[in-house]
């Protein structure tokens, strides 16, 4: 058995900022004379107490390098425990969700899925509104930390190609301290920029703040209410697109290394998918739905970007958009972004693999030239990607089966399973009357959202028979 103390220490480190993040909601409620401020204060106190206790009590004698097992356990426990504490305000607050619902709500927030079981925004207190948005924004931070420091080290589904040099445990610390700080800074700066732009467009500051956090974290909480049109709509669209970009690449570009952007193939694919999907939705809107230029041009790209980044499904309806948005949501944005889903680079690697197989069919003895992209990607990495896709598909299948077992019909089961695992909610809630669904459905979706956010592997490793052996 390995030493669990560094893991618990890490969890304590996570809980302290979570507690601090509850304070703005408490202050806001206190300011608008909402009784919920006590709930937030009490939740923050509890969380901080536990967090500090873990930090102080579990401090390892020497700063040791984390092993793969410790990282996996830390990731899984970290997200789960954070979700549990984040659910406190929902369970104890005025809307008093029961525990299943509160945990669902917290998981939806922290994984930046942004499905909701709460009443519509206009009936919610200011503190709860702020708390949901802050949760998804912190979820975005967590997603970035995973993408920059944890997943490449664990070599989850080909993420090792984004790996920073160094040993396993070193790389986590190194990734977090060097790239991580800059990436977090960029994320914050982009959010502030969106906030400023939205205020400049005439949105009230509070709403502007909520929406800025929603788009940059690819969460989408208050977007359930009709999305702002006009200039504000453009800002939101830009924010969503930015959320799907690879942040480490952006950081390198800002440091003057533009070749990082030029050489990033996933960036090109991201732009391509976004363009094609937007064009398809615009064409569908105009040709089939009979929408005008203005409407189609506004709704189409917003829906495409919203689905690809897992932010908001937008305001389009119909069989074709539903199918397209389902697949876009499953696809997700770039690796190193805040989005969920399979990630575009994996699709690219697989297509490249299929392409080289086709060439082998034509020229059985061909040695693929060095220019051939598939050649530089080793079998090991492609296998890693394919393994990920397989695990992803199996998890999706298990979630859909489980949802159907608890009584959902085919369409809802498939769509909800996909949305949960791709962390694609969009503030609208999983559907009308969803709060009345059995607890099993909500629990399944909660598990699905967390699995999607940690990219499944860390959880799976915990179940490997050799994990708990010494």
């Amino acid at each position: 058995m390995f030493d669990p103390r560094p893991v618990l220490f890490l969890i304590g480190l996570l809980l302290c900022p979570l507690a601090c993040a509850m304070l703005p909601s408490a202050l806001l409620d206190l300011w608008v004379h909402d009784g919920d401020w006590m709930v937030f204060a009490a939740s923050a106190g509890t969380t901080l107490l536990v967090g500090l206790g873990l930090v102080l009590g579990m401090r390892a004698p020497r700063a040791k390098v984390l092993s793969v097992r410790q990282i996996c356990l830390g990731v899984v426990l970290g997200w789960t425990v954070a979700v549990l504490f984040a659910s406190l305000p929902f369970a104890l607050g005025r809307d008093a969700l029961d525990w299943t619902d509160a945990i669902f709500e917290a998981a939806a927030g922290l994984t930046a899925t942004a499905s909701t079981l709460l009443p519509p925004p206009e009936r919610l207190g200011a503190g709860v509104l702020l708390w949901r948005s802050v949760l998804q924004w912190m979820g975005g931070l967590g997603a970035l930390a995973m993408a920059v420091a944890v997943l490449p080290v664990l070599r989850v589904g080909g993420m090792e190609i984004f790996r920073v040099e160094g040993g396993v445990g070193d790389a986590v610390r190194f990734g977090l301290s060097r790239t991580g700080v800059k990436v977090f800074g960029l994320y914050t700066a982009l959010t502030l920029a969106a906030l400023a732009a939205l205020i400049a467009c005439g949105l009230p500051p509070f709403e502007a703040g909520l929406r800025a956090m929603a788009v940059l974290s690819a969460g989408g909480y208050p977007l359930g209410a009709p999305m702002a049109g006009g200039w504000a709509g453009l800002v939101l669209l830009a924010g969503m697109i930015a959320a799907g970009l690879p942040f480490p690449v952006l950081v390198r570009a800002l440091e003057g290394d533009w070749s990082a952007v030029r050489n990033s193939r996933q960036l090109r694919w991201y732009a391509g998918v976004l363009t094609v999907a937007s064009a398809a939705l615009i064409a569908w809107g105009m040709l089939v739905r009979g929408a005008g230029w203005g409407e189609a041009l506004t709704l189409g790209p917003a829906a495409a970007a919203g689905a690809l980044t897992g932010t908001s499904p937008g305001m389009v309806s119909g069989g074709f958009p539903a199918t397209l948005l389902l697949f876009l949501g499953l696809l997700g944005g770039c690796a190193g972004s805040v989005t969920g889903g399979i990630k575009i680079f994996r699709l690219r690697l697989l297509v490249a693999g299929a392409w080289s197989q086709m060439r082998l069919l034509l020229h059985p003895h061909a040695v693929l030239s060095a220019r051939d992209e598939a050649q530089t990607v080793t079998t090991d990495i492609r296998e890693s990607v394919m393994g990920f896709l397989l695990i992803y598909a199996l998890t999706f299948a298990a979630l859909a089966l489980s949802l159907a077992l608890f009584g959902l019909d085919f369409e809802s089961a498939v769509v909800q399973a996909a949305r949960a695992i791709a962390d694609f909610g969009g503030g609208t809630g999983p559907g009308p009357g969803f709060a009345a669904q059995p607890d099993g459905v909500k629990a399944t979706l909660t598990i699905g959202m967390i699995l999607g956010r940690v990219e499944i592997y860390p959880v799976l490793v915990l179940f490997a028979p050799t994990f708990w052996e010494s």
Binding site: A280, T323, F327, A404, D409, F410, A413
Partner: protein, 477 residues
């Protein structure tokens, strides 16, 4: 170019000549029964035979036919497509009064052993047409078996090189040993069709229905002679169908061993064993669900569940009722099973069991390697070691399968089909399943029929064979 393609034309011509000859069977049947469609079949048979004969004669160059590499791919595709076109003639000319695109759809669906039908009233359809549909299923299954045993391993498509005969060299030429195995497998296949027909007869079907269902069950096609498919017969017939469908989807080459060794052969064949286990597990789960969620008793639930699971997973598509009424769980489970497909070496479609198994064990090894970076993990399938080349090939196939499924589902949705039907229709067409997943084939708009037809062909030709035709490199010298 003409000289290079001569063998391709020749093979296609011979194939059509054979098809024309076989078309004479339903023509004779109609003539004996004084059915309405004698002329339709006679004209189609003559036209097909004439066209095929002309093609074969004009391209007959004497000596052997050298089919290797690209020409083999081209011959397969050209033969398949022209067979589909000619096979649709009787439907178009018959009394059925269906649109040309529906006739082509019916032929494609038959020859790819999909089994989705656009004929609205099978119960009143002429016997000759019903027989022709069953024959198309049978021929399609035969083609699939021969392709799986002799052609795909030589072309090394989607990891099928695993099943290559040891003696065949690397030029992609179909060698004698392979063709002998193919002949044995084909013989076994035809024998199974006859056995299944006899069993259906014993279980209480009329001789004509027994013959038709024998062909469509072993081929995992799924064309029936009734609108309600197998709902028209009792439990006995359905158990026979279950056995026949499994036989059709099983890897036939392993049964070319002496029958005394069959138990040992099944035990050693990793693919078939895993496949049977999957069928049993899924059927058990579905039976439990059916038993718990309806008023059917235990035996009835078990029969219904086994039938449904086997029908979808073997990509046959016989139905005995409306499975979608069983609720969401059954619907989702059957949808997922449509991706499994049969075993490599059989008539079933879909991804094929061995590919899933290779991927699964490879992924398991990958996870273990996360924990033990320096461990060595070996993958095998039964007694065969799975090498890196095969794994690459399998991964490419499965990835392409998923992407194709998604793109065609999008295409279907763009023609105005709803989300559930688009997903189910794409899976059912690509996997050559056909009926049973809730796609209202009869109500599909024309563009959707075209899309699903292409998908059926893609599925049957194992994707790469067709996709490679549209790469620019294929047509270069």
């Amino acid at each position: 170019m003409g000289g290079v393609l001569r063998p391709v034309f020749f093979v296609t011509g011979v194939l059509l000549l054979g098809l024309g000859a076989i078309m004479a069977i339903p023509a004779a049947w109609e003539a004996i029964l004084r059915g309405p469609d004698v002329r339709a079949f006679a004209v189609s048979a003559m036209a097909t035979a004439f066209f095929g004969g002309a093609l074969a004669l004009s391209s007959w160059g004497g000596g052997g036919v050298d089919l290797s590499g690209r020409r083999l791919v081209l011959a397969m595709v050209a033969g398949g497509l022209s067979a589909c076109a000619c096979a649709s003639l009787p439907f178009a000319l018959s009394d059925l009064d269906i649109a040309p695109i529906d006739a082509v759809f019916e032929a494609v669906s038959g020859l790819t052993t999909t089994g989705a039908t656009l004929i609205p009233h099978l119960d009143q359809a002429p016997k000759g047409v019903l027989l022709w549909r069953a024959i198309l299923n049978g021929l399609g299954g035969l083609g699939a078996v021969v392709m799986a045993v002799a052609v795909l391993p030589a072309l090394r498509i989607g990891g099928m090189q695993m099943f290559r005969m040891e003696t065949s060299d690397r030029t992609g030429r179909v060698k004698t040993r392979a063709s002998r195995t193919a002949r044995t497998a084909a013989g076994l296949y035809l024998l199974l069709c006859l056995l299944a027909a006899a069993a259906f007869r014993l279980a209480g079907m009329a001789p004509f229905d027994a013959l038709c269902h024998g062909l469509s069950a072993i081929s995992t096609g799924g064309f029936s002679t009734r609108d309600g498919s197998l709902a028209a017969w009792g439990a006995g017939v359905q158990w026979v169908a279950v056995a026949a469908m499994i036989a059709g989807a099983s890897p036939l080459p392993i049964f070319t061993a002496s029958w005394r060794r069959w138990p040992a052969v099944v035990r050693e064949d990793g693919q078939f064993r895993a496949y049977l286990a999957l069928l049993a597990g899924s059927a058990a789960a579905l039976a439990l669900w059916r038993w718990a969620s309806s008023d059917a008793d235990a035996v009835e639930s078990l029969r219904q569940a086994v039938f449904a699971v086997v029908s979808i997973a073997t990509t046959t598509g016989f139905v005995d009722g409306d499975w979608l009424r069983w609720g969401g769980f059954a619907h989702v489970a059957l949808f997922l099973l449509a991706f499994v497909g049969g075993c490599a070496g059989g008539a079933g479609g879909g991804v094929k069991a061995f590919r899933w198994r290779v991927l699964l064990s490879r992924t398991g090894a990958h996870i273990r390697r996360l924990l033990h970076p320096h461990g060595m993990f070996v993958i095998d399938l039964g007694r065969r070691r799975v090498g890196e080349v095969v794994i690459n090939s399998v991964m490419a196939f499965v990835a392409l399968y998923m992407v194709t499924f998604a793109l065609f589902a999008l295409g279907l949705a763009a023609t105005g089909v709803g989300l559930p039907s688009a997903l189910a229709g794409s899976a059912a067409a690509l996997g050559n399943v056909g009926r049973g997943l809730g796609t209202g084939w009869l109500s599909l708009p024309d563009p959707a029929k075209l899309i699903t037809m292409i998908e059926m062909l893609l599925g049957r030709f194992e994707l790469f064979t067709l996709f490679v035709l549209v790469t620019p490199g294929f047509w270069k010298r």
